[in-house]
Each structure stands twice: as C-alpha cells, then as structure tokens.
Amino acid sequence: MKSAMKKSYRYIALVLAILMIGALALAGCNKSEPAAGSSAAPAAGSSEAAEEPEVTGPPIKIGLLNETSGAYEQWGKMELQGFFSGLYYATDGTMAIDGRPLEVIVEDTTCDVGVGVQKATKLLEDDKVDILSGTCISSIALAVMDMAAEKGVPYVINCAASDDITGANFNEYTFRTGRNLTMAAEAGLGFLNEDEIEGTTWVVLAPDYAGGRSGGESLGAGVEARGGKVLDYIYPPMDCTDFTSYIQKIKSLNPDYLCAAIVGNNFIVKFPQQLKELGALDNGMQYVTSIADFDFLKTVGEAGIGQIGEALYHYNCWDTPANDALIQIHQELYNGEYPDFWAGESFVGAQAIVLGIQKAGGTDGQAFIKALEGLEFESVKGTYIIRAEDHQALQPMAVGRIISDGNGGATVEAAAIIPLEGMTFPVTAPGRA
C-alpha cells in the first residue's frame, strides 16, 4: 500500500514537471527579444519619432551580445538600455540609417563563455548580422572577436575592459569605445595637480590578476613620474574576503594616499568597510578608488561620502549635449530610470556604429573599418577619437567624488575631468604602434 502511494507521488511529480517545462518551453520559444520584457527593447517608431521614414533598402542587422541573465545581469541591463538610447539618439529617433531600418537582435550570453560563443555563432553565421556589438565580460569578448574577424564582421565593444582586446589580441575588425583598464588606472590620479602629488607617499592596492597588476603598475608609474613616492604595492587575491592583514600593513606604512586600482565587485564593498572598521582612515589618509554603479552607491551610502576616484560614468558628472540627450531618452524609454554606469559607454558605442555606417555609406566591413579609424565625434563625455592604430576610443575621463544626495543616500559629482589630451597610454597591439 505504501509503495503504491509512493509510486503515484512519483508519477504526479513527473507529470507536473513535464507540464511546467513544456509551458515554459512554449512560452520561451522563438524569442530573439531580450528577456527583460519589451520595455527593454523599444520598437522603432515610438511616439517621439517625428514621421515614419520611407524604407529604401534592406534592414541593417546589428547583433548585440548581452548579459541578460546570470551573475552580471545588472550590467547587461545597463548596456542594453544605453545601447538602444544611443541608436535612438544617433538616428534622430528614426531607428534607420539612409532609409534602411535598424534591426537589433539581442542574444543572452548568460555570463557563460560557451553560451556567448554559441550566440555569437548564431548572430554571425545564421542571422548574418552586419555589425556585432556587446558583452561586458572580457573572456567572451576575446573569444568572439576572433570569430567576428574570421567572418569579416566588424565588432564594436562597448564595455569589456581587458587591455588585451585592443592590445595583445588585436584584430582589425574589433573596435572598443569603452575605456580600458590602463586608462581607468591612470585616471585615478586625475584629481590632483602635478604639484599636489610631488612629495606625497602612496600605497597602491589592486587585485592579484593580470589586469590588476598592470593597472596598479601604471598607477604607480604615474605617481612616481609626478614626483610622488610609492611605498608599497599590495595585491590581495581576487576573491579575498578578509583584508585585515593587508590593511594592517597599510596602517603601518601610513601613506598620504591609498589608491585601490581596478577593483572588482568584491573589493569595492568589503574593502572600504574593513578600512573603516580597522580605523585605517582615521589618520587623514585619503582613500582613492573607482566609483561604480548605483548599487555600489546604495551599498556604501553615507559611509562612502568623501571617496574620490575614477568614475566610469555617472550622469551627474558630465555637462554635454549628448549626456543630456542620454538622460532624457533613457528616461523616456525606460520608465524614468537614470542611465547607470555602462549605459554611458554603450550609448557611445551605438553612436559610433551609426556614424560608421553613415560615413562608410553602407555596411561593408572594410569600408566601416576605414570610416571608424581616426573618427572624431562628440558624445557623452565630450570629444572622442577612435585611435587608428589600435581601435581604442580615446576619451575624457572623470574623477568623481561621492557626495550626499540630500536624501540620506549618495551621488557623485565630478571632482576633475581629464581631457582627451591626457590619454597618453601606449599602443600595445602587436605591429601597430
């Protein structure tokens, strides 16, 4: 009797499971739109468009690899929303270039390299996109850029930050409009004038991996070049949760400035918390670190007020027509949300794509490359120049300071803007310098 009951339990559970999966499958099939719902991918011709342009040619297909689900889904959302805002802006709301409508195909990488490669295969070989863009994850970008080059499809990277993308792994079909890690590290010093750095003592801290080490070294070199002295370089492991011993070392060195370079999610929250807890900031040491996204600001809250450092993008730091447009368009398309962090980068990427196609008169790969190399244009942070040698966009960078937003939370103001001319990092793409 008992085993018979158990048997029927099993079959009921099996049937339920099949029904559930079947329902999900039916609902989930044939979806090339982003899972975040139709609000994330606005259709062309929304109410703001002045008139419907006439179609004079086949659609231009743009493939966007996006972290729609997985550990970095927040970043994926930012990139997606900024990208569409950028397309909107660059096409004056028509979502068409020279009469050819834009068709954006968004595919979810799920933050996994294997899936990213599968989706890139789909976009490049099945959908035959004219331009590929997207992904925040450097390893996916590195894998996909080789594939895109093989197919002769230009690949514009907005967010993934590894130096190798426009460095050691360079190929002519890849462009990056976002900043790389070296730029980020050097920007960390930007809030101080040369004479302010002279004679000061520093400790540089970075996570122990290739990007962190090179970022830390660039920073240290920058300090020494301006007459400062680096007392020590400290490299905690990337997944470090207990920074006590490192902080104790820092306390015993007692520098004027502690600069935490290229910090990941792990460091950005725990490290300052433990710094404060151990009283490391009580001696007047200034803590300099990257300022991240809205979640970061929410987490550090009032405790973060006074922190200074490289700010990739915060809408409050920039006073340009493009930035105002980004804020306005983003809020219209996405329920009043302010653009966050990566949105400032993907907006520029989308704009560059449109400008490239317009200048090239079409989507031919080689023509697009020639159009983008050396291209100078105005966008969110001011003037951008896409360096012909390594396809890296040179751009102004902001140093932000966390201030109170008057509501018990935190926001960012620009403590300094490093102009375009200040970007002097070398070309590391082999054979291109």
């Binding site: 559970a13 999966i21 999900l24 899972a35 689900s69 390299v113 990007g211």
Partner: protein, 310 residues
C-alpha cells in the same frame, strides 16, 4: 525491449541526428549539438567512475579544464602543432590520474569526495593565480579549430561520441568491467577474491580521465578560449547534474542528461533570468523521487512484467 529493436532504434536515432541538422543548416543548432556531444563525452567519462566503479569524485572537471588549457597554451603560446598538443594532454591527464589514484588510497567514501573537491578547487585557484601562463581571469584566447566549419565539426563530434559510448559499453561489459562493478558493490570482498582493486581503480580513473580530457580538447576547439570557469566547482556540479538527471550507471543516461540540460538552459534562459532556480528545484525533485534519472523512468516503462531491481 529486444536487443535487435534497440539496435534499430539507436541506428535510426543516429541517422536522424547526423542528417537532420545538416539539412537545417543553422550553425547555431550545429554548435548546440556539438556542445551536447562534448558534455555527453564528459558525462560518460564521469559515469564510468560514479555509476560503475562507485568512485564519487568531485574534482573530475580538472581533466576537462586542464586539457583545454594545455591545448590553448601549447598551440597559441608555443605554436605547437595540434597533434603534439593532444600528446601533451594525454601525458598530463595520466599524471593527474596518478594523483587522484593516490588519493583513493588514503581516503574513503565521503572523505574522498571532499578531498577531490578541494583538489578541483585548487586547480581553479591556480588557473586564476598563474596568469602569466593561463591568462588569469580572462582566459587564454586564440585557439583555432581544427575543423573547417561547424557542420564538419558536429558530424565529427557525433561520431566521436558514438565511439566513446561503444568503447565504454565494451569496457563495462568486459571481465575487467565486471570486476569494477564488483568494486562498487563491495571493495573488500573483491580484494579478498584476489583482485588488485587498486590497479583496477587506477585504470578506470585513467581511462575516464583521458575521456574527460578528450571532451576538453573538443571544448576548446569549439570556443577558441580556455577560461577558469571550466575548472570551477560549478562545472563539477553541472556534470554531476547531467549524469544523475539522465541516469547514473547507464552510459546512455549521461547523454540524455547532457541533452536535457543544454536544451533546458537555452529554453529556460529565454523565459526567465532566474532559470537556475528551476534547475535546482528540478534536481531536488529528481533526487527525491527519481533516483534513477530519466533513463530509469523509461526503463520502468519498458519492463512492465519483470521484477524490477532496486
């Protein structure tokens, strides 16, 4: 089901898998099939350990990941030809099997599982720490596929999978394979019968390690990059899920499990960003009610009148 009917069904399935996708012509579908084949090979190698020899290793992904890294490093940084890279993979996998064999001597049961998990994690840590060799968190990109296009690749992958399956089937049904199954039932008793259980276990560890390495070679050919994520404990869990879900100890179960997980993750992730939750729940349900996995459910249907083994 009669053996002859089973054979006909298997051949029909094989023909379908080989021909139909070629007709569809979608590179995306081809790459999904290749991925399923890769994970199937990996899962079969795991089933040899788990299902037939009773060795519960939670560090099996070491072979997979290290093989991928070896191929990436030797072909991209050292510019070795592909065959030389494969040779190196064989050497490395045998060396790693040696380490795991030693561990079986010192620990039993659950201890063994925990230690193998630690070894796996150690390799993961090394892959992120030794970034001069491994490229660190970003991985080692630049691996060129030896197959000219996805279509050739997927046909090769399916054929390789079939060979691996037949080979494994042969192995477990051989006299040596019977000894291994005996080891799973009762290690001590087999020892008392005069068999050198350590030698047998070492051999199976080596074979399954080499097969997992094969899967790793195919993986890096498909994706062009080796990243630390394939050495992570989450990869171990995924393979475990595939084997258990499909049916441990059956060899065709792991293939079913691999296919289900690939397809489910693609379909589910298009629907909701929290699809891992559904996976987890599904897995818990399977563990509670269907310990023999999907293969077990079908076996039940095909043997209605016989006494079922528990």
């Amino acid at each position: 089901m009669k053996t002859k009917n089973k054979l006909v069904l298997a051949l029909a399935l094989l023909a379908a898998v080989l021909v139909v996708p070629a007709l569809i012509g979608s590179s995306y579908i081809h790459s999904i099939i290749i991925t399923i084949c890769i994970y199937s090979i990996f899962a079969i190698s795991y089933d040899l350990l788990l299902g037939y020899t009773g060795i519960v290793s939670f560090g099996h992904t070491v072979y997979f990941g290290v093989a991928a890294y070896v191929v990436a490093f030797t072909t991209v940084k050292l510019h070795w030809p592909f065959l030389a890279a494969v040779g190196m993979v064989i050497v490395v996998c045998v060396a790693i099997s040696f380490i795991f064999s030693l561990v079986t001597l010192r620990t039993k049961n659950v201890y063994f599982s925990m230690v193998t998990m630690a070894i796996g994690q150690l390799f993961y840590v090394m892959s992120t720490k030794l970034y001069a060799i491994t490229g660190g968190d970003d991985g080692l990109p630049g691996v060129k596929s030896i197959f000219p296009n996805k279509t050739v690749f997927y046909i090769a992958a399916v054929l390789i999978l079939v060979c691996v399956y037949l080979f494994s089937k042969r192995l477990v049904n051989s006299p040596a394979g019977r000894v291994l199954q005996g080891v799973k039932e009762n290690d001590a008793r087999i020892g008392m019968l005069g068999y050198n259980t350590f030698k047998f276990k070492s051999i199976v560890i080596q074979i399954s390690g080499l097969l997992a390495g094969l899967a790793g070679i195919l993986y890096v050919n498909l994706n062009g990059i080796a990243t630390p994520s394939i050495l992570n404990s989450s990869m171990t869990l995924q393979i475990l899920f595939m084997v258990i879900l499909g049916g441990v100890g059956t060899l065709h179960g792991p293939v079913i499990g691999a296919a289900i997980m690939q397809i489910a993750s693609i379909v589910l992730s298009g629907f909701t960003t929290r699809w891992m939750l559904i996976f987890g729940i599904g897995f818990v349900v399977v563990m509670l009610f269907f310990p023999k996995g999907v293969a077990g459910v079908f076996d039940r249907f095909s043997q209605p009148n016989q006494l079922r083994k528990e």
